[in-house]
Symmetry: C2
Subunit: 161 residues, 2 copies
DNA sequence: TATTGTTATACTCTATAACTATA
DNA sequence: TATAGTTATAGAGTATAACAATA
């Protein structure tokens, strides 16, 4: 079952990581799909909750994406009444974004879903092993500059505040 | 730097996993891009090497994708002269696929690139920590049915042989 | 003239359906 | 008629470029 012809002498940890990461992301996506959300929405929702009233430009900068991408994402969240755009009285070009009541409740619900997801995902590990795994992953992530951010592809690292 | 309002009391290991997995996949993709390959090609190349002469139908079944998808992927590899299609004399509808000389050499090169990639990725860990990480990930992957396979999205698990 | 947000357009990857040739 | 492979078509997601309103 182990199709070789590959330096499989060493453990293919980097591959396992990519494989399991994709698996985790897929399973999480399945769990939030009934909430009418995709993973990319969760990252944005979390960030907006932590930076209430940020402008779309600021969001784009924080996530390292084009402003036009933010328009689409905020559109999707606003259509679901999870965030709301407000005119900035100081600069009428700018639109500040913040969570609605419904957005707050949704974020809480997503948090519960995430915990269930994580419990399932790591069910094979003991409490202690889970802690060790978390620590090792945290170490690697920090060394690679992925501190508190969001997925590459979906976003970039937290740029402060 | 840790934007909360989330049950961050527990470590978000599942998130770290998805984040790091995407990061690992992206970095690997960058490394093989100069070889004119994408990650999806590597999984296929490896599988074909381990199952020489398999038909496209068998490939599709092993990877859990539509036959039309296999056509495209094998086209891409054949255009690079890494694999070759052959008429099955027994059933002239069927096309058996196998690596070319060039494909063999490419696979070896990809293996070297992978090892360099992995070394970089896990540079923050000691030898022993790397081993522990590999073991824990292997445990989780096995429990989740991701034995020796390839990425979800790109493919499915090895179906034997 | 520069900047914020928006809209329009195109490109990549993938999935589905229709088609050809064998069996 | 069923099956292996192929081609055609359409969809999701993202990136780039052109644009309108405001500064």
């Amino acid at each position: 079952m182990n199709y070789t012809r590959w330096p499989i002498v060493v453990r293919m940890t980097a591959f396992l990581l990519a494989q399991l990461g994709a698996h985790a992301a897929d399973r999480f996506a399945e769990r939030i799909a009934p909430l009418d959300l995709a993973p990319r929405h969760v990252g944005l929702l979390r960030w907006i909750a932590a930076h209430p009233g940020a402008s779309q430009r600021e969001i784009a900068a924080a996530f390292g994406v084009q402003p036009s991408r933010v328009v689409v994402l905020v559109d999707e969240l606003e259509r679901r009444d999870l965030v709301q755009r407000h005119q900035d009285p100081g600069d009428r070009r700018s639109r500040s974004v913040r969570l609605t009541e419904r957005g707050e409740r949704m974020l809480a619900e997503v948090g519960r879903v995430f915990l269930a997801h994580q419990a399932d995902l790591l069910a094979a590990l003991t409490e202690e092993e889970s802690a060790v795994l978390g620590e090792l992953l945290g170490k690697v992530a920090a060394a690679r500059g992925l501190t508190d951010g969001v997925h590459p592809g979906h976003a970039a690292a937290d740029s402060g505040a």
